[in-house]
């Protein structure tokens, strides 16, 4: 049997492989908990997609349903146009890399990698030839005879990766692939995964709870919260233009502020918050009623900050507060303010000040400071 014939092919193969579409996916467990609550999602073929969210948001459940290790209670999963619910992973043309790697402890690297071909009845010579090719691709040739227990975490992960890609799946599913590695390896593997995806040209769906990881590797970032998709966009959009306060807070790098709408004219809204601060921002065409509460985000690295003494506080788009913490971060300094008249549940306000700027006029802890920004740096958030 030829390796190519192992992979289920269909008409859409010519136009690209591994387009995934989820339609109304619901996963309800026997005890009534709703892990995934009506998800619609489209992932184009050849995309590196990250499912991102805190633990318990349903991202792993979703991955496992795409992989065929769990059955959705409702909804359809389409891969290259065909519904795959009820099909085995093999019939789906997916392969999964498990969080714990799930390597067979009694088989050496070569046999682990060749296992998938073995169950498909490929002869020893051919499956070893194919395994050696993939093992070389993940740079483990010297370790091919070792048992998993004799490998480091990073090496084990490469074995798991090799085992997953040997059948040339349409979709590769990675369940927190980097979580068990140390920081250095994590960065290295991250770029290797990205590179591998580019080489193979197949769809990668990667589950993670680390924002930076998702932003660094993914073409498409899907942010999830309690069984829902809250935003699915290119990495830069998710980071720079979060749809909701939840996404803004979860992705980080944003200050989330809010105020009551005082007026809207020509897409320009003016707000005033409980402490009397005025803000003005563009809100686009959406119809909004005055008096409505509106949240917006401001990039932390696009905020300017100065000591209050001697500075003039702009009438709009500025906040005043007490400096609570100053952290040197190498390329920038993180200055944390507690805003005047802040309620207990309000987030602290954070400014990332470029290193040179900060040391030109340093602000110390317990100083009162004013932070302000241009209207273009503001981004209106959807109500949650």
């Amino acid at each position: 049997m030829d390796i190519e014939t192992l992979v289920p092919m269909n008409a859409s193969t010519a136009t690209g492989r591994g387009a995934v579409e989820l339609a109304g996916i619901v996963k309800r467990y026997a005890d009534g908990t709703l892990a995934v609550d009506g998800i619609n999602l489209r992932i184009a073929s050849g995309t590196y997609c990250c499912l991102l969210g805190p633990s318990g948001c349903g991202k792993t459940t979703m991955l496992r349903m795409i992989a065929g290790h769990e059955t959705p209670s409702d909804g359809e999963i389409l891969i290259d146009g065909g519904n795959v619910v009820g099909l085995s992973p093999r019939e789906r043309g997916t392969a999964m890399m498990f969080q714990s790697y799930a390597l067979f402890p009694h088989l050496n690297v070569r046999d682990n990698v060749a296992f998938t071909l073995r169950v498909r009845g490929i002869g020893k010579a051919e499956r070893y030839r194919e395994a050696d090719r993939v093992i070389e691709q993940v740079q483990l040739t010297e370790l091919a005879q070792r048992l998993p227990a004799q490998l480091s975490g990073g090496q084990q992960q490469r074995v798991a990766l090799a085992r997953a890609i040997i059948t040339r799946p349409r979709v590769l599913l990675l369940d927190e692939p980097l979580s068990a590695l140390d920081e250095f390896l994590r960065l290295q593997m991250r770029s290797e995964l990205r590179e591998l995806q580019r080489q193979l040209g197949i769809t990668f769906i990667h589950v993670t709870h680390t924002q930076l990881e998702a932003v660094a590797v993914a073409d498409q970032v899907v942010v999830m919260d309690r069984g829902h998709v809250v935003q699915s966009d290119p990495a830069r959009t998710v980071y720079a233009e979060p749809r909701s306060a939840y996404v803004a807070r979860f992705m980080g790098g944003q200050n989330v502020l809010a105020g009551k709408l005082e007026s809207v004219a020509d897409g320009l809204a003016t707000l005033r918050d409980a402490a009397g601060r005025g803000f003005a921002l563009r809100v686009g065409g959406a119809v909004r009623a005055t008096g409505q509460r509106l949240q917006f985000s401001v990039r932390r690295d696009h905020v300017r900050i100065a000591k209050l003494a001697g500075a003039t506080v702009p009438p709009l788009n500025a906040v005043v507060g007490l400096v609570r913490a100053v952290e040197y971060q190498g390329t920038f300094v993180k200055v944390t303010l507690t805003l005047d008249a802040a309620a207990a549940e309000d987030d602290p306000f954070v400014a990332y000040v470029e290193e040179g700027d900060y040391f030109a006029g340093p602000i110390g802890i317990a100083d009162r400071a004013v932070a302000w920004w241009e209207m273009d740096e503001m981004h209106a958030l959807a109500a949650e």
Binding site: M96, S100, V119, A149
Partner: protein, 299 residues
């Protein structure tokens, strides 16, 4: 630097060695008194002369000669090996299935442990009672025969049910299956469940997962269980006697007969031979699977 001040007398290395010796000593003493000394006595007696009335402490190999050249010995060993093989196959099949059921099919860990303890309930009574309780079941007028006759399936009572190899093996299986279940249960419990998903992901059918994943990973459990069962059967003397209706004898029951007629040296030589054969069998099994490696290498 108080820590570096040496106590007078013992160097730190010496005292560390002394500590290890002290820790090993209790177990070493137990083994010495209850294993080494009795074995030495048996081996010593096995080369003594004897006549009808007394044991004479004089060196001879005659006892071994008599044991090894006797047709009785050969036929006893063949019988026991046959019984051991039948028992081994039955206990392995039952034990493996029960362990697999408990580990893989019972979802709740608590229920699995509860069912596992249930397997040990028969052990709350003595071996003899458990064995004898088969008599009314398998007997000529026993429950099984009566039920079969009442249902019209048979006209005559089945003779092979009791006082036969069948009844002996049934008793062995009843008595010893737990020794197969425990190590296999243990080995199966240590298998990471995600391996099954990985196998499923690879497209493995059920039988392929069993053959290429579960079986290799439970090898150590099978070997340990097999050693228990085979040595227990080979060392038995009572079950054969009772359940075969006295028609069969075992290696050990022959020794018992020797002892009751005061042929201690002959019995001792026979015991030594049995021990060597069993040791060789266990060694052969262990050569097939390195149990130590399997147990030590943490999965």
């Amino acid at each position: 630097m108080a820590a570096t001040v040496r106590k007078p007398g013992l160097s730190p290395i010496m005292s560390a060695r002394l500590k290890s010796f002290a820790l090993v000593l209790p177990l070493a003493l137990v083994l010495l008194v209850f294993v080494v000394v009795p074995l030495a006595v048996v081996l010593a007696v096995s080369v003594f002369r004897y006549d009808n009335f007394e044991v004479i402490p004089a060196f001879t190999f005659e006892n071994y000669q008599s044991v090894l050249s006797s047709h009785l010995t050969l036929s006893l060993y063949l019988t026991m090996l046959k019984l051991a093989a039948m028992t081994w196959i039955c206990t392995l099949l039952i034990g493996y299935s029960v362990a697999a059921f408990l580990v893989f099919h019972v979802r709740s860990r608590l229920v699995a442990i509860g069912l596992f303890l249930l397997c040990t309930v028969p052990f709350w009574t003595s071996n003899v009672i458990r064995m004898i309780s088969w008599l009314p079941l398998l007997g000529k007028q026993g429950v099984i025969n009566q039920a079969l006759m009442a249902s019209g399936l048979i006209q005559e009572p089945l003779q092979f049910l009791l006082f036969s190899d069948f009844s002996v093996v049934v008793s062995y299986v009843h008595l010893f299956t737990i020794f197969m279940i425990v190590p296999i249960f243990n080995a199966m419990s240590r298998i990471d469940r995600s391996l099954f998903e990985a196998a499923h992901d690879a497209g493995a059918a059920r039988w392929q997962t069993v053959l290429w994943v579960v079986l290799p990973l439970t090898k150590s459990g099978i070997v340990l269980g097999s050693i228990f069962v085979v040595t227990l059967v080979m060392g038995d003397f009572y079950v054969v006697k009772v359940m075969s209706g006295g028609t069969d004898a075992s290696v050990v029951s022959a020794m018992y007969d020797d002892i009751s007629t005061l042929l201690f040296p002959h019995a001792a030589a026979s015991a030594a031979v049995l021990m060597i054969i069993l040791t060789a069998m266990v060694a052969a099994i262990l050569r097939l699977v390195d149990v130590r490696k399997e147990l030590v290498s943490g999965r």
